[in-house]
Amino acid sequence: MPVSEPVIEVSDVCFAYGRQEVLHNVSFRIAANALVAVVGPNGGGKTTLLKLLLGELTPLFGSVRVLGVMPGEARTRVGYVPQAVPFDPRFPLSVSEAVLMGRVAKSRFGAYGREDHRVAREALERVDLAGFENRAFAELSGGERQRVLIAQALAGGSEVLLLDEPVANVDPEHTSHLYELFKKLTAEVTVMMVSHNLSVVTGHATHVLCVNRTAGLHAIGEVASATFTEAFGGSLTAIRHDANCHVMDPSAAMHAPHHGCGGS
């Protein structure tokens, strides 16, 4: 893919669950090595947008391109990290096995090869968990588990990381370490994360994508801290889950015609 092409390109996307439209005329382009914080109220369409980028859902109108191709074709180059993995705490799994899962579809049938193990070790080093290989996944803290899942995505050769509220189950001490890690990773990959924490937006992200049935992308320099204070209420550290997303009037935007189908 040429350097000038966006890593993620969403054009005039509309999506509905049955008759309930959740995204309307959404368009944005994300360049390589950006750290994009996706913000917005619950039910505003953030998770739906991630699923569209992963190819789990198909837009009604408009197009989604990831790394220059359809999301389904880019699936193994995109690493998705959920806010928490629901798993049995007694599930027998070591950290190295969890990271190697990133290469599960790339490896041949049978055991993982030397190259797989080398890449997995490197991925653990990149998330500052070298030496954790033989630890049980279940014994790790919430923050360490998120790092392992990120290492899993990196081991699979992900060029884009999609993180769904990655610090939702992480204690405050590890939260800042994780954000530092995301920032560090943007030297190699593009990171897009759903976040409810304003400090992320102002302190680490390069761009903010406000999603509230429509969407607007802003470089962090364009958004003054006063805008956040005004939009989300004083010194709150969490975005209030109401309709006051700062960039748009969703009710008016939802009445605009579909761009993707010739204004029908």
Partner: protein
């Protein structure tokens, strides 16, 4: 118990029983570990109980229409595979509650089996032996297909272990990493069906699930990796099967039930060790 070892070299049926117990334990250790970590014991229960429908239908067709090739065991294998594929299809489509589907297949299969047995002319005492196992009646042809099933299970498990582990850990993540999870779900269901049929020969329809899950559950308490859990489960399965067979032989106890009772004891012991280790 001593009489068992002295008779082992004199009576071929005892050697067959030992071999059958070992073959069933290998399959149970491998597949059972996956069943336990995936918490899908109900799947094995539904397959084992619906086997009665296959056994009953095969015997009915044999008696009524003289189809000699359709032995009860063939009926059991075909019923187990059909039910496994049906369950894989129903549960992966996600349109029905899995527990409801499993309960319907479990009880429906059992009910059909009872009706087929009732409709078959003559007394079906050998079919009833499938309910609680008939380890001492295992024949050489039985051993051959049990060995073939073991080879298939071992081969598939060795080839697909990484994919099974990823799906068992988190199906969504495995799918997003590029694994064709729907294909492996079908393979997993078929392996479970094959293993359950093997275990029905040893412990019977009612107790097969215990032999599938208890050695694996005990191994899970003693190990922290799935591959080691499988290895330990195989060893526990072989141990309780052989010891149970030997123990039951002298007094004439039912070997399947004795083996399951020993498996329960081993599981409780493993739970005790696990608790002591955790302090």
């Amino acid at each position: 118990m001593l009489s068992f070892f002295s008779d082992l070299w004199s009576y071929p049926f005892l050697a067959c029983a030992v071999l059958a117990a070992v073959l069933a334990a290998v399959a149970a250790g491998l597949t059972g570990s996956l069943v336990v970590v995936r918490r899908s014991t109900y799947l094995a229960g539904a397959v084992s109980h619906s086997i009665l429908a296959g056994l009953g239908l095969a015997r009915l067709l044999q008696r009524r229409f003289g189809i000699g090739l359709l032995t009860p065991m063939t009926g059991a294998v075909l019923a187990a595979l059909a039910v496994a594929l049906l369950l894989a299809w129903l549960t992966t489509r996600g349109k029905h509650r899995p527990d409801t589907v499993l309960s319907a297949v479990w009880t429906g299969g059992m009910a059909l089996g009872v009706s087929f047995v009732a409709a078959t002319p003559g007394y079906q005492d050998d079919l009833m032996s499938y309910l609680f196992g008939s380890l001492l009646l295992v024949s050489k042809p039985d051993l051959v297909w049990m060995a073939v099933a073991d080879v298939v299970i071992l081969g598939v498990m060795a080839m697909c272990y990484n994919r099974f582990l990823a799906i068992a850990f988190n199906e969504e993540l495995a799918r997003l990493r590029g694994v064709r999870t729907s294909v492996y779900e079908v393979v997993y269901h078929v392996l479970t069906a094959l293993t359950v049929v093997l275990l029905v020969r040893v412990a019977g329809i009612v107790l097969a699930v215990a032999l599938l899950t208890l050695p694996a559950a005990a191994a899970g308490l003693l190990t922290r990796r799935l591959d080691r859990m499988m290895a330990v489960a195989v060893l526990i399965g072989i141990g309780v099967s052989l010891f149970g067979l030997a123990l039951s032989y002298g007094p004439g106890w039912p070997p399947g039930a004795t083996i399951v009772e020993l498996a329960v004891i081993v599981y409780l012991a493993a739970a005790g060790i696990h608790r002591l280790k955790r302090g």
